[in-house]
């Protein structure tokens, strides 16, 4: 089914140009590898296959085009199973951005279901959490800058800056892979965000309530010093797929076909 979507996209690109409708963000190929995420599997190391990732987060303008083509995802039409009441709440109406919102700013107030549907309609998918973290550990020059305290400091201060989500995409640095805005603009949905088995509610975490999560004892932070990553995982652990949050957006990924 995804393939049929792909066909259309490539056909449109060839004959009609990107005139209107949902425009697809340029992608960069990410060369796979092995790394140790903050929360990994038993063996700690995670292997990432080659994949493509959108250079920028999905923008307001792109999302307007999406809901124009797919009325089911308009604010007044979306069903509550797939998005809470905050969905696109800052828009003026179903297909118009709110006053002062930049078309080139990242779309936020979108649920996981909506983000997933958006990517699927372009023949893409959401990146996995491990893929996202793999790309996010790069600074301008290195694939893995996590050991660099200045890099971590920069991420943290980005988290502390209010209203970064209203700036246009591409406002932050271009990393080693040619990808922008992994840090400093918004938080981003990942396909398996709900694989973080911490609840974000400390009463339910830790040893006192292992009954809630099977084998939860094996999921521990590999590097508690990595505070920025810890914040991301904590956020993922505390949100639900229907939620639409002020500074939570997304970008799409794609498999590398043989």
């Amino acid at each position: 089914m995804t393939r049929t979507c792909l066909l259309l996209v490539s056909w449109l690109a060839m004959s009609a140009g990107p005139a209107s409708g949902q425009s697809s963000t340029e992608m960069q190929k990410i060369t796979g590898g092995t790394f140790v995420p903050l929360y990994g599997a038993d063996s700690a190391e995670v292997h990432i296959d080659d994949f493509y990732l959108d250079v920028y987060p999905v923008t307001n303008a792109q999302f307007v085009d999406f809901v124009r083509s797919y009325p089911n995802w308009r604010r007044s039409q979306v069903i509550r199973l797939f998005a809470d009441q905050n969905y696109l709440r800052t828009w003026a109406d179903d297909t118009t951005l709110g006053a002062g919102m930049l078309p080139r700013a990242p779309v936020t107030y979108v649920s996981w279901f909506a983000a997933k549907a958006y990517c699927e309609c372009l023949g893409k998918r959401l990146p996995t959490m491990d893929e996202w973290e793999y790309v996010a550990m790069a600074d301008e020059k290195q694939k893995d800058a996590r050991a660099d305290s200045l890099f971590n400091q920069r991420i943290i201060s980005g988290y502390e800056t209010p209203d970064t989500h209203i700036q246009p995409v591409g406002s932050t640095y271009r990393n080693f892979w040619g990808i922008y805005d992994m840090h400093g603009l918004i938080w981003e949905w990942t396909s398996d965000f709900n694989s973080v088995l911490i609840s974000g509610e400390s009463r339910k975490d830790g040893d006192t309530d292992r009954n809630l999560f099977c084998a939860a004892g094996s999921v521990n932070a590999t590097d508690l010093m990595n505070y920025a990553a810890f914040m991301r995982y904590a956020l993922r652990g505390s949100i639900k797929a229907r939620y639409s949050l002020r500074s939570l957006g997304f970008r799409c990924a794609k498999d590398v076909s043989e």
Partner: protein, 238 residues
């Protein structure tokens, strides 16, 4: 000639797109556009371009009333809106909508699990026993390990656990659809080794319209409350 060809492609592509993106949506078809002057009769376009004949902007066609009626009876929070298809241990292909009219008691497990899942299965069995009369109630196990848990394997699991009567249903779906369903019931899971998963221990109860009614969290907890909830739903009648 070429124009007609392109139009055909557009229409075809529109249909395909509708199929591809129809997942998880209220009604699968995207808006179609038509010239307000009907220059080309009833011809529709998937996008709001200008009419190739009179150059007026095409207008969106409003949904037919019958389409609205079709989904109106399903509450917005119902899992019947999920379009995902599942295979049962009996080899049938079903959607959640096929369970409309039944009370659903749902748990997510994987069959190679050695620690929590046997206890979850026991919990389901205990609930089943206390609730008694199972007509109009389905006890559903959704596998979080679709690669291993083929319908055949699920069937074998059902047989070994003596869960073979009609009210026990085991579902196998695609990795994506399992992830989507887990998000609907707020179950978290992660593959932590080739054979093991971490997962939340949650048993969910859905009413006859597929709306989440109650969730029991934890293993081996007192099931008095969940049993009472299921019985209350059953008393509500159809």
């Amino acid at each position: 000639m070429r124009k007609a060809h392109i139009t055909m492609l557009f229409l075809l592509a529109g249909l395909l797109l509708a199929a591809a993106c129809g997942q998880s949506q209220k009604n699968a078809a995207p808006t179609l556009y038509q010239c307000p002057m009907k220059c080309e009769g009833g011809k529709t376009y998937p996008r709001q371009i200008n009419c190739p004949v009179c150059n007026m902007k095409l207008q969106p066609l409003t949904d037919g009333p019958e389409k609205k009626a079709n989904t109106a009876e399903i509450p917005e929070l119902s899992i019947f809106h999920l379009s995902s298809e599942w295979h049962t241990q009996a080899g049938d292909t079903v959607t959640f909508r096929d369970f409309q009219g039944d009370i659903l008691v749902v748990v997510m497990i994987y069959t190679s699990c050695k620690s929590a899942c046997p206890r979850l299965v026991a919990d389901m069995r205990n609930i089943h026993q206390k609730v008694g009369r199972a007509d109009g109630i389905k006890y559903i196990f959704v596998s979080i390990d679709p690669e291993t848990d083929t319908p055949d394997r699920l069937k074998e699991f059902a047989r070994k656990n003596l869960l073979e009567s009609d009210e026990w249903v085991f579902l196998h779906g695609s990795t994506d659809d399992v992830r989507e369903f887990s998000n609907v019931v707020a179950v978290k899971y992660k593959k932590i080794s080739p054979i093991d998963f971490s997962h939340s221990n949650i048993i969910s109860v859905f009413d006859r319209n597929g709306v989440l009614y109650y969730q029991q969290e934890g293993l081996g907890v007192d099931n008095k409350e969940i049993v009472a909830k299921i019985k209350a739903l059953r008393e509500r009648g159809r």
